[in-house]
């Protein structure tokens, strides 16, 4: 049943949000600290466990996969409902950050690659 998969997804989502909210309260802020991140990690663990124990049927997984495929459409709807008019003044900021953040990440690849290769030689 597809709904089982969706229900598991819903459960992870809610537990993650409750965790994030509790953390927010702990630090005395009205916000959700990393709730989505917690929910994602939880789903990975639950999915991994259920695959090893063969609990989750492929049909149930399809319930989660449906939402997986709705991710880009939801993001498109999200961008279409933002206050873009007010954001136009920040257009240059967007371009600069986009370019420099990407360049910085690219620049790090060879360094990490070196570390990774050294480690794999050591362990071999």
């Amino acid at each position: 049943m597809k709904i089982y998969g969706v229900a598991i997804l819903a459960c992870c989502f809610l537990v993650g949000h409750i965790t994030g909210d509790a953390l927010g309260r702990l630090f005395n802020m009205n916000g959700n600290l990393g709730g989505v991140g917690f929910a994602m990690l939880l789903l990975v663990l639950v999915h991994d466990y259920s695959q090893r124990k063969k609990i989750l049927m492929p049909e149930s997984e399809n319930g989660i996969l449906f939402w997986n495929s709705m991710y880009i459409p939801v993001v498109v709807a999200m961008s279409a409902s933002q206050n873009v008019k007010a954001a136009i003044s920040g257009g240059w900021l967007a371009l600069l950050v986009g370019v420099f953040a990407t360049a910085a990440c690219f620049a790090l690849i060879p360094f990490i690659d070196q570390i990774a290769k050294k480690r794999s030689i050591k362990s071999a």
Binding site: G37, V44, D48, V74, V75, Q82, A86, A87, A101, I112
Partner: protein, 251 residues
Amino acid sequence: MKEIISILDKNGFVFALLIVGLIIYISVILSKKVTNQKVPGAAIAISIGLVLAYFGGDKGLASIPAFSGLAFLGGSMMRDFAIVSTSMGASFQEIKKTGFVGLICLVLGTLIAFIVGGTFAYFMGYTDAKSIATIGGGACTFIVGPVTGGAVGASSDVIAISIAIGVIKSIIVTISTPFLAKRLGIDNPQTAMIFGGLVGSTSGVSAGLAATDLKLVPYGALTATFHTAVGCLLCPSILYLLVRLLVPGSV
């Protein structure tokens, strides 16, 4: 006409599904025919969304009555739900294999992007912790930005900027990866995983690697998915708290 608008408005969510479907249909065609698949359809679709939002009001296109359903389909509940579901594609065993180096990439990639984004934001006049964290998150991916913004309560225009940053990043990654792959040594699974983890942006990484070497796609996409998860975990929490401590007057 009035009757039709009232029906569309009453069934806003369903109408939103139709609109988004059309936008994506057009984007996929544009991606294939105009850019020869160099720019992923997803990036074009999100850009079209942002452009359309310009013609609306403070809720973008959703400010126009018939289109109000977009605000629900793209609202925080649906968004977070759909994003959480994407983590199912990543297997825990595979992450273990990447191990320590993978973890370093994910954390370092998030940190670097966040710092670059936050610094630019600060010096370009966005000096409150909420905006800095949201723009820093946007420098990770176009998901981390709005998730961070929603969690800390940033304004919609700042969230729009953060989406735009993520989209620009994904386009740059897609186009530049095939050209830079050789120089950066992206020709084996491990480096592909490092690349995905550092750069994030699942759509950009997948499309970029597909143009480089199709065999590398799953490796890069795997760590890139986790980049978003780590970003969603760190940006609205530890990193936001740090920004609050560092930026005077925002506490």
